[in-house]
Symmetry: D2
Subunit: 283 residues, 4 copies
């Protein structure tokens, strides 16, 4: 059975759902699940529909072509893809390997509908892990002098390898605004605090100083404003006065791994639509 | 602006969403939010649509009448109501008042779209609270001998007062199978455990004996099988070895109040559809 | 059985626990539970011991007098009180009554070991609730001109009524630095965000703008720095893109009530010791 | 600096804490942190003290010898070990590798104070993972006929390798009562439900059938009664009607990994004391 996912964002208007679902019905397609959201603040409408094609349904190219009329009428940004299409993913990491390990295991055990096209790092720490799993490892050391050149190299790799998603799995370098721009909407970072608390460096040390009773992690799309991009997922964990900054970091690693994995899965399943500087997550 | 809520459950089939949304579009109605779910196990389909009527939309009676054709075609159980219709609620309580106090405050502060038509109790404990808030209080003591008669009295009250929802807010009497049947789908109970753990009596004492590290509460529709009805909402709270059964009960009271209030709100907003012995909660 | 609670903070040193527990043993007192914490950062030591007095134990005054030698040796800040002593509490509130309602119910049902000596408000909204429960209600409207005078009045009340704890249960006025100083360590505020995120005004509106996926509440001791005092307790609740700022406020009310109630209980039970701008919470 | 951990369980009595802390003080030992609990139900007392030895403190053997007098007086079960002693761990697994992967990463990254002496499995699935990390892999297929023999082999390995802790990281075989007895208090299992709900086989399928709104995992010491041993740690995660049993299993894997890792760490740090069929967890 062929299955597809259609995502839409457009100005809100009367009749969009009817138009889309009628299009699907006349195309012999059956909705498996569908979710939509109209934002009263921005007057934008968001929709994600997972549908299967019946025996008499046209192929994907024809479906796309015939949907154009509806899409144009409602000024839609839209995307229609095969539900089993695998996301091509590039993982970037520095010296902390917990998120990498977690993503690699999910990949290995079939829990992520993604291919990991490569691992990029400014350290050699995880070369052996990558190679053991047969994943290309790219050592890309960054200095102030080489940053521009290395980022070009990275972007070239993204193009050449047709990367759909770059995951910053505790990659401790700040990307240039140009690179952020080039990767807009397809680069997810995990920040080790409950944003907007403790943006920037050393969040666990600062959480310890402030004496908070919960610590957290935030997965967000990367933008040129550090730690200010659209938030995809957050989670927290209880801590207390007896925890040192090192304890917080250790507890936090579990939260970071979970939050990043959830955000990556949501993105891969086309459940995250960007709404200005926020996300609409259609489960 | 007139607003309505349409809820549907029916056998799954191709084109239901299209049929419903097209009906709304041609009736000059605009979808505000909509959620649906097709259960692959039971092959049943569930939908809840909140829509507003445009200037040229017919009135509710006409909308209902004209929807019948679509409803019949898909063998729907359905309901179409005004979104601002207030639920008429009857609260039953014994001697523990935390859930009652919580519901009364929400009612008083406008957080629940409901009218509390009365409070029924087998004790006089909360008469003064009820009377202070101008809510009729019914003292309905139950003994094995009077149970049948008292339940008839209760059911009579439910009919006469056109009660939409009976809330057992820590009402410590077991309803007869007959009464459960008469109130099917419109009677919510709060059980003070994380079901299916600790069904029946004294769940906190038994949770203490078992040494669990989390305690919980469960709001469910009442059925003739004790604590076995469709679960609407559950929540837990962390506890530890130092907590006595009394501590567990005290901690649990907060969880119970929250869980019951959430379940009542979900029911009032027509978000809970029964699916065999389970619920579909369309947020 | 007489029971007492001893709380201690002092510079860390070898032998403190031995000295305290030996003092208790030789005084025919039996430890019921005890917790301690040595902060490696500040080199301060904190201890809370709940003990019962045997038949041959001296009375509280004598215990206090004889403990002085030990206390002096270790430069202790300390406090020894009857475990069943009731805290005299003053609640301040503006127009949002959920925390007040929650505290009043806990008080009424015996869940808080406290007497509510009065309710102070800059509005008349809750006069009838207070009076129904027989609690003195003080209407204390504040304008820029009258603020100094009204705060004096308040402080006079605190002295006269021997208030142990002032609870700002959604009191929407900022206290002057002088008043904060006078109430240091005995005034708890509930802030409707997960601090340090969204300090100051309108946290729910700002949380909505930022698109966070969890909202929270924070109970803290009031200091002259707005929303910067030592944090006692925090909690969060999951939200999503579909929630309006008003939805966040409604969800947040439950979190605020729970967090404030927990902090008040911890304070009443002498479990919260201040450690610079942080708290040590000895459970 | 030499550091030790002392754990005690004994009948409750006046003066135990004083006796222990005085013993430490006179032995030139300084308490770093200490926790105790007196169970009012069983009249048993539990204590865990982490202390450092001063320059004039005797060595561990002497400390142990000299503590005997105190221990005898109070009928203590006790244990005094070096705080940096590494736990020798044996991991047993079948075909689901998420808990194994999680434990191996924690081990590799230094987050667990343990040596993994071997991995035992009734399948060959994880031989390559084990060998890549240089951990001995033991293939131990079990059939009804060979079970007794294979368990003897296992027990022999436990003795020979001086294993402190056997971790059943989703090992899908039931241990015989004899083996359970031999490993009492040093064998931790992860069960993929929130016990006591869904004991036994296929908990996720049964959770799906019951329509629960939260699923969980439980780490417990193994006893001859299946899934009835003392609970060390539990956690839950929210699910909804749209999740299939496979979705529940996928969500559950994250919960299982976290709960098992926490329980293992608590055990390794000597924080878990058995109290009948319950645990006292001294943090």
């Amino acid at each position: 059975m062929r299955e597809y996912i259609l995502t839409i964002s457009c100005p809100d208007a009367v009749g969009i759902v009817a138009a889309v679902t009628t299009f699907l019905a006349v195309s012999d397609c059956n909705i498996k699940d569908s979710a939509q959201f109209g934002d009263p603040a921005t007057r934008l409408f968001f929709m994600r529909t997972h549908f299967s094609a019946g025996d008499n349904a046209p192929d994907l190219e024809t479906l796309r072509a015939s949907f154009c009329a509806t899409a144009k009428r409602y000024h839609m940004n839209w995307n229609m893809v095969r539900a089993d299409e695998r996301c091509r993913m590039l993982i970037m990491v520095s010296k902390q390997g917990h998120c990498l390990n977690d993503l690699l295991f999910r990949h290995r055990s079939g829990a992520l509908r993604a291919d990991i096209a490569g691992i990029v790092s400014n350290h050699e720490t995880f070369r052996d892990v990558a190679e053991w799993q047969g994943i290309p490892f790219h050592y890309l050391p960054v200095t102030p002098e080489t940053k521009e050149e290395k980022e070009k190299e990275l972007l070239f790799m993204v193009e050449k390898e047709k990367i759909d998603l770059v995951v910053l799995a505790r990659y401790m370098q700040i990307l240039s605004p140009e690179l952020c721009g080039a990767l807009a909407g397809r680069c997810i970072n995990i920040h080790h605090s409950f944003l907007p608390s403790f943006k920037g460096a050393q969040p666990y040390r600062r959480a310890h100083e402030r004496g908070v009773k919960l610590i957290g992690a935030t997965a967000h799309y990367v933008t040129a404003n550090l730690d200010e991009g659209p938030i995809i997922e957050q989670e927290v964990q209880r801590v207390d006065h007896a925890h040192t900054p090192e304890d917080l970091a250790a507890i936090g690693r579990d939260v970071e791994s979970i939050v990043l994995a959830r955000a990556v899965r949501l993105h891969i399943e086309h459940r995250v639509l960007v709404n200005g500087n926020k996300t609409v997550v259609l489960r």
